[in-house]
């Protein structure tokens, strides 16, 4: 296993752990952090492959992904706070009425 495969394996593991956290954890903020972990795993694979291909496109893409992630968190955290204010809990099971 060379270093590229090692880092791809790490990015896979981080993505799977993050997805599992989104599914099994109860707290909305923890779920949000697990989504950040998934994003970090994907960014690691982009950086590893673009570095191996000696391309600058990957670095540009990662920069843009960072900006989108900052915007995402700036919207998501107020929405979570709004939900918590409405139901007085961060338990994801309390919001089952959002299913429609």
């Amino acid at each position: 296993m060379d270093n590229t495969q090692l880092l791809l394996a790490l990015s896979t593991a981080l993505f799977v752990i993050g997805l599992t956290g989104v599914i099994i954890r109860r707290n909305l903020l923890v779920m949000l952090m697990c989504m950040e972990l998934m994003l970090n795993g994907v960014v690691l694979s982009v950086v590893t492959l673009s570095q191996r291909a000696a391309s600058t496109t990957g670095a540009v893409l990662v920069f843009l992904v960072f900006v989108v992630a900052a915007a995402e968190i700036a919207i998501a955290v107020p929405i979570v706070l709004l939900l918590a204010r409405r139901k007085h809990t961060l338990d994801a099971d309390a919001f089952t009425d959002l299913k429609g």
């Binding site: 090692l6 599992t20 690691l44 000696a54 670095a59 955290v77 706070l81």
Partner: protein
């Protein structure tokens, strides 16, 4: 030495990820996520992509996680979601973790034939990155500023909804 350090940070990132699944308090989960992000920044620096490593520390660890920690501090610690870690999807989630992890690990294990380039690719060239960034990708850079403006407007709209009490 390089290999030892790389393995050290890979193991640290993995350990932080696993801790995020098992820790109960959201503040500790946030600290584990910060540890993962710092390990990833170290890995980026070891790959020679220093710009991305600096971005990782400045944007993720500084901006995003500080925001997240403030949000956690606003919460009520007696909330049931703080004392009960897992939802009812624990067993299906773990089964999915095993299945998806096995499929992806199989793919990574057989990826050596399809990977682009050579294992020892050239070092990251900051000058080439800057030239490419401002010559070819300037439109995307401008579009991200529009996205950030939209995010600010949306955050203000959420605040107003909260103030009206109908959010």
């Amino acid at each position: 030495m390089y290999q030892v350090m790389l393995w050290l940070f890979v193991v640290a990132a993995l350990a932080g990820g696993v801790l995020m699944l098992v820790l109960r308090q959201p503040m500790r989960v946030a600290m584990a996520l910060i540890a993962v992000m710092l390990s990833l920044a170290a890995i980026y620096a070891m790959l020679g992509v220093h710009v991305i490593a600096v971005f990782q520390v400045m944007i993720y660890v500084s901006a995003v996680m500080v925001f997240m920690v403030y949000a956690i501090m606003l919460m009520d610690v007696r909330d049931p979601s703080f004392t009960h870690r897992y939802s009812g999807y624990l067993l299906p989630g773990l089964a999915g973790l095993a299945a998806l992890g096995w499929v992806l690990a199989y793919g990574v294990g057989h990826s050596h034939n399809v990977l682009p380039g050579t294992p020892a690719a050239g070092a990251f060239d900051l000058q080439r990155f800057s030239t490419d960034f401002l010559n070819e990708y300037w439109l995307y850079f401008e579009l991200t500023s529009v996205l950030l403006l939209a995010a600010v407007v949306a955050a203000i709209a959420i605040l107003k909804a909260r103030r009206r009490g109908n959010g």
